[in-house]
Amino acid sequence: MNLSLSDEQVFLREAARGALSRFKTVAAAREALDGDEHALPDLWPTACEAGWPGLLIDEAHGGAGLDAFDAMLVLGECGRVLADVPLLGHLPATAILGDSPNAAEFMADLASGERRAAYLPSEPPDDVHEQWSTDPASGFGRGPLPSAGAGGRDSNQDGRVALTGSVAFVPDAPGADVLVGVAMGSDGKALGVAVLADAPGVEIEAVTRYDATRSLGNVTLKDAPAVVLDCPEQSLVGAWHLAQSLIAAESLGSVETALDVSVAYAKERFTFGRAIGSYQAVKHALTEVLRELENGRSLLYYAGWARSGAPQEFALAANAARSVAGRALDDAARTMISVHGGIGATWEHDAPLYFRRAQLSRRLLGGTAGATDRVAGELLTQAAAA
């Protein structure tokens, strides 16, 4: 039994914290909201220097050959300071490409960060939904995957197809070199696909929603030429769950900051002659955030262990982590605001930045609610089989 960070993992986390501390990312988040397009520092060179783009890529291809838990540690550090490092898009994409022998030639550039990938969120079927789906541009339902080969060009013989369709709110799509996701073949089979961002028929519209630190793109594909990846379908399924675990880790990093700042204030702010943190109403609200944070951390360990230690449980673990982390971040941000009183709800304070992060994060990549539903689906399926 060993569920703790290795020395290397402690070093990875500390190094990430150190690297990101050189930038005023939280101040930049506020300026970007104020409309300063150039406020956000470009953190990709820092990521490349630290080797983060290749975290999940084999050493043979120039990567670090590490596993999901290591990536979660880095995402957690990004979340602590609202750093806009485009790893949420890049890392799940490299996980798919790394499992695809016919993408081998790309891997060195993706590992070094010379080229950047973005993952087109593609949600696998579950016990209720029989089809793969994507996040729709608006509304409550699920959108269809882009189709491969509509327009009669689906030969798929030389491993090339033409993609048509759209995927909304793709993390880190603007500026990416290659888009990686899932498309529906004409025979109804899910195909892993990679399409270059500058290929004809590819349109990436940058969109900002509520949290200026989150780079998103609406991707439209019209007969866009794509390579069919020869990865197993399990790899496409795994990428979705990996993305859930990464956004969970990032959210919990933000929870850490929200809690630290709130606790510090509760110790120094006095009312009626004593620190507000001595009142049970405030103390209990803060311990509730700690409870959610600790639950989330335990689930990150579960997901990190399960991805290679018990792959059949990875979906359950990753989505449970996402579910808890999403609620934890919402609660942490709201508690941060209320502990600080009125000022916490103003532009003067950082709390609104964490609040904005919480509201948007909970709706991306299928949403926290979607992850929660999948936890139920996984358990109900297990129970029915037992």
Binding site: S6, T287, L299, V324, L380
Partner: protein
Amino acid sequence: MDLDDTPEQAAYRAQVRGWLDEHKREAPVLQGEGALEDEDEIIAARRVWQGKLAEGGLAGVTWPKEYGGQGLGPIEQVICNQEIGKAKVPGILDAIGVGMLGPTIIAHGSEEQKSRYLGPMLHGDEVWCQMFSEPAAGSDLAAVQTRARQLQDGSWRLSGQKVWTTNAQFASFGLLLARTDPDVPKHKGLTMFIVPMDADGVTVRGLRQISGEAEFNEVFFDDVALDEGAVVGGAGNGWGTALTTLMFERVTIGLGSEGMGYNSTRFAAAIAADEHARRDPEVRHKLGEIASELLAVRFTGYRTLTALQKGQVPGPEAGLAKVTIVSGAIKAGDLIADVLGPDALDEDSQWAYMISFLPGLKSAGGTEEILRNTIGERVLGLPPEPRLDKGIPFSELRSKEGAPA
């Protein structure tokens, strides 16, 4: 990062499993076909079984060898618990004695006490109960009013009342926290005693709960005589001795929470059986939220084990896991009753029992409020509530109660 046994742990697990394979037919049957029904018979059979477990080295795993234990660590204790669970046989009857009170006596007791009490406790020949809480001293445990007065000959006379006393109806002894000096501040005037439950003046009365069953007792003491050797850890040192017991209680709860049966798999199974419920978005959402938190507790347990393996002592934050388990199970009971309807509340239903049991469990082993206070102060470092009783002799505090603030 792994959940695997080390070679030494695997060898220990095989040894435990081997013993259980050989002896599990001797275990009392408590559920299903041929199950014992008479309460006295069950207790008698479980005491015999505890004796066998002790002989096989499956009780008192963490106790030192000189007191009949195995001298092993908490990991081995957990492995032993897991294998007992897998073999579907009952564990030891006196988990409170062996898990909390015995270790307290080992830490603070005299040599006479250790040689007299520990062996029969371990083997189930003498069951123990913990007598700390009182009607007016729970969260504020140091406010106990049960009074012990010392006579000229050194013996003591005990009067007062305890409550929430599990197993008191068949216990031979109890470890009791009493006030021996009311004229000093409350934490200072306390002493720990060993009380024979068959002594004159001890009355045990069952306390029925929501379910209708009496799992706890009230215990009354009317001028009970205790000899000088009944004191554990020295007169006036009762609070420090009590803290040792509470530390072992945390460890026991932290390592045993999986065994409480409040887990996502069991709750999902209840819902999966209903075709409509399993596809209902609201039911699924609630189940997903509850299950995610309960899954987290399992891995919090593994984190605690990792810390124990490294020689660290679990801190008060383990109490957060208890909050999660209890609140998760309460929500699960509510959801399952929504799904199953009034049948969930049939008196014989496992769900009716669980729904009845949980409101009380919320307060057991520390109320949610006191746990949050402790964690807020000890883990987050938040300042304590002002304590109006600090440094004031206990006798003066009592006289102030009821007076306007």
